[in-house]
């Protein structure tokens, strides 16, 4: 029973980290209807940035948030302006290939600049947290708290602020939003840049837990896509739930069956959800089509 509880809670904690990494992706899809295939490489870039800060300044990667989050916001804004925005009014495949091209470009630049070596940082906290018979890495617990705070804060912004309401209006009907005076192109830019900043946040939380290398994004982007679709495309709380489901399934199946089958089981879960709840666990019915009625 203790082993099960340990695995369950560990799954929830690692799943929340996956969710944090996926929130930016679901936010961008929800508003722009664009799947950013370079999302994993944004994570890789931000992890290298945080790693660089630890090496140059000798700080732990959490301090890197102060620089990485705004830097990734700026990077996202530039990518949106130069690559995504020009493709938005073209056939959908153009933006798919544009972000795929960016993904390959970023991987290769990283390979040239950093080589294929794995880089990591030492654990930030010396000891695990012990609750009764259960042990947890403090970095995972911190990641869980950050994910919860981030999810609640984003929900508050989306529901209560004028910017959030403008984002929701843009999602539901972009043309009508423009008629209300909402600068939809600016909303797109802020959302894409904000999604990138969230990846920067996730990268700083993940660096003490995972090594960084040029193709690290590929390891995570597939999980992120599963989480986004599982939770419901465009749903922030859905990403949290989807992430936790993936983490728990991976954790339990890895222990009770075989570590190599962890991915297989969350893909089985994914297929079952798609069959019985095609809009995802918390997705809005027709989420893939709303906002496309113009």
């Amino acid at each position: 029973m203790t082993a099960f509880s340990q695995l369950l809670i560990s799954g929830i904690l690692i799943g929340s980290i996956y969710a944090l990494m996926s929130i930016g992706l679901t936010l961008v899809f929800g508003v722009l209807r664009v799947v950013n295939f370079a999302h994993g490489e944004f994570l890789m870039l931000a992890m290298y940035g945080a790693w660089g800060i630890t090496q140059v300044l000798g700080l732990n990667p959490y301090w890197g948030l102060i620089a990485i989050v705004p830097a990734m916001f700026l990077f996202g804004a530039i990518v949106h302006r130069l690559i995504v925005q020009p493709a938005l009014d073209k056939p959908h495949l153009v933006v798919v290939f544009a972000t795929m091209g960016l993904s390959i470009f970023m991987q290769n630049v990283a390979l040239m600049a950093m080589s294929a070596d794995l880089r990591d940082v030492p654990p930030v906290f010396a000891q695990s947290v012990i609750i009764g018979p259960l042990y947890f890495k403090a970095e995972l617990l911190l990641g869980f708290v950050v994910t919860l705070v981030c999810t609640v804060a984003l929900q508050w912004i989306i529901r209560k602020t004028y910017l959030g309401k403008a984002i929701r209006a843009t999602v539901q009907d972009g043309e009508a939003a423009m008629l209300m005076g909402i600068p939809v192109p600016h909303i797109f830019l802020i959302t894409f840049a904000g999604g990138s900043a969230l990846v920067g946040l996730a990268a700083c939380i993940m660096l003490p837990l995972f090594s960084v290398f040029p193709t690290v994004g590929l390891n995570f982007v597939l999980i992120a896509f599963v989480i986004v679709v599982l939770g419901g495309m465009g749903s922030i709380e859905g990403a949290l739930l989807g992430g936790i489901c993936v983490g728990v399934v991976q954790s339990l199946s890895g222990y009770y069956i075989a570590p190599a089958f962890g991915q297989m089981f969350f893909f089985i879960l994914f297929l079952l959800v798609m069959i019985f709840r095609p809009n995802g666990l918390l997705g809005q019915k027709g989420a893939a089509n709303i906002g496309m009625n113009s």
Partner: protein
């Protein structure tokens, strides 16, 4: 207030409007009528800055606005209530109204304007927490107009506002338009319901195949044989 000169509008390479010129004076109700595919809604979209490319001049109070994106025309006082309402279906009535006051000038007065809209359209006050997608067609149309009023328009463009409405709501709507004009608002209305428009409007333009073929005072056009020809496409 609104001056349109030699307006050509295009969807891609297809030209829909051909040299349309018209004007709307402050405090007027101006109707636009015509058969299906005459270019009425294209005219409204072009004035609002959506979908089409165009040549020619569009000016509001002497200021050219044809080069501005749709969201900047709103802050110049030109607001379109589009065909089929286009509400934000997953937002409630209050949120739809708040979004109507997004432009900075309107946002500063949003609380006061909401009270004015609720006084003008009490049904919206009763339904303020209801999701807009669940309102009846008539209530949705009232909300669409209320949402536009939140933006503090000087010229309100209404595109087919009676489409799909029960007769009682059609009457309420035209009564509302008259009351809005009495409060100083200028209104331009595109409508299939030609008799209502001609009775309500001060002047009416008749469009045929993307061209203005007739202009006159609403009442006098009611008996004009040329209107029947243009409107029915005979």
């Amino acid at each position: 207030m609104l001056e349109v000169k030699s307006l050509d509008a295009f969807y891609g390479s297809v030209q829909v409007l051909h040299g349309v010129s018209l004007h709307v004076n402050r405090g007027e109700i101006v109707g636009i009528v015509g058969a299906n595919a005459a270019g009425k809604s294209t005219l409204m979209f072009t004035l609002a800055g959506l979908r089409t490319t165009h040549t020619g001049d569009i000016g509001v109070d002497g200021e050219p606005i044809g080069h501005l994106p749709a969201y900047e025309r709103t802050s110049r006082g030109l607001i379109l209530v589009p065909e089929r309402r286009r509400l934000f279906p997953f937002m409630n009535v209050l949120e739809n109204l708040e979004i109507g006051a997004y432009s900075p000038g309107a946002r500063a007065q949003a609380k006061q304007t909401i009270d004015e809209v609720f006084a003008l359209l009490p049904v919206l006050a009763e339904r303020r927490k209801q999701v807009s997608g669940s309102l009846s067609g008539g209530e949705q149309q009232m909300l669409a107009i209320g949402r536009a009023l939140m933006g503090k328009p000087r010229l309100l463009l209404l595109d087919e506002p009676t489409e799909g409405l029960a007769p009682i709501y059609v009457k309420l709507l035209f009564d509302l338009i008259v009351r809005l004009r009495e409060s100083g608002l200028t209104v331009m209305i595109v409508e299939q319901n030609v008799h209502h428009v001609l009775r309500t409007s001060d002047r009416t333009y008749v469009l045929e195949n993307g061209r203005v073929v007739l202009e006159g005072e609403g009442q006098s056009l009611l008996n004009d044989e040329r209107l029947k020809i243009a409107y029915l496409g005979l």
